[in-house]
């Protein structure tokens, strides 16, 4: 029964679907539960990337077509390359704009630019 190739792909795709969607929902939950922007970024950039990447991979495997699988892999690679970039850009912009870390934080060695006074 389990030697059936259809069964094998179905199980693999199902496992990827379940794990990927769990990572996605946990990333969303982390977005809700973490105390400040910078800690939330950890959830979004790691668990979120893996979640969506695994779901794309599942779609690629399910198609049973090498071109589609390569396309899904290209999408995964693109996603893995861009997610840290956008997280990094947003964290840098937020820190430079003056958004502070949560009070739980133990250290902040990044020098903070003096906040500019805003015109009313």
């Amino acid at each position: 029964m389990t030697d059936d190739p259809d069964m094998l792909t179905a199980v693999a795709v199902s496992a990827l679907l379940v794990i990927g969607s769990l990572f996605s929902v946990l990333a969303a939950l982390g977005l809700l539960r973490f105390p400040d922007l910078y800690t939330r970024m950890h959830a979004a950039s790691k668990a979120g990337t893996i979640g969506s990447g695994l779901l794309l991979l599942a779609a690629g495997i399910h198609a049973m077509d090498i071109a589609i699988l390569l396309r899904a892999l290209a999408g995964f690679a693109f996603f893995v390359l861009t997610a840290p970039l956008s997280a990094h850009l947003l964290a840098k912009a937020a820190h430079q704009a003056g958004y502070r870390l949560t009070n739980l934080s133990v250290t902040d060695q990044l020098p903070q630019p003096q906040p500019k006074s805003r015109p009313h």
């Binding site: 179905a10 679907l17 990927g20 969607s21 969506s52 794309l56 693109f78 996603f79 949560t102």
Partner: protein, 124 residues
């Protein structure tokens, strides 16, 4: 249990989980409390939407959906980059209009320490 049954039940499980994830992310967008938080949540929303499209590709059998997911990831990345530039250009926002979803003052001390501190510094 047949292959099709396993596949369809896991597809429905994934759809349910992703919908829940979308809801949680929308909640974070509503609660804010700051602009970068919302930008991050929007980024996450795009990521979950990509996953959702991939699941829909499996469910419907249209492999073209994968190309749509890749295109969406490109657009989402560019949107986040543009938003990051916007956060940088706008600086610290007063966040006057985000009172609706704010945590209670007691919660601010323990769990959401940031808004309380920022208000004290007050840019206005």
């Amino acid at each position: 249990m047949s292959a099709a049954a396993i596949l369809s039940s896991s597809i429905y499980f994934a759809l349910a989980m992703l919908s829940l994830g979308l809801l949680l992310t929308v909640l974070r967008i509503l609660r804010g409390p700051t602009l970068p938080d919302r930008v991050l949540a929007l980024d996450m929303l795009v990521a979950i939407a990509i996953g959702l499209i991939a699941v829909l590709a499996i469910k419907s059998g249209f492999n073209l959906y994968i190309d749509i997911a890749i295109a969406l990831s490109l657009v989402g990345f560019l949107a986040t980059v543009a938003f990051a530039r916007f956060v940088l250009a706008r600086g610290l926002s007063p966040e006057k209009d985000s009172g609706a979803g704010r945590p209670l003052p007691t919660a601010q001390k323990t769990k959401h320490g940031k808004p309380a501190r920022r208000n004290k510094k007050g840019v206005r």
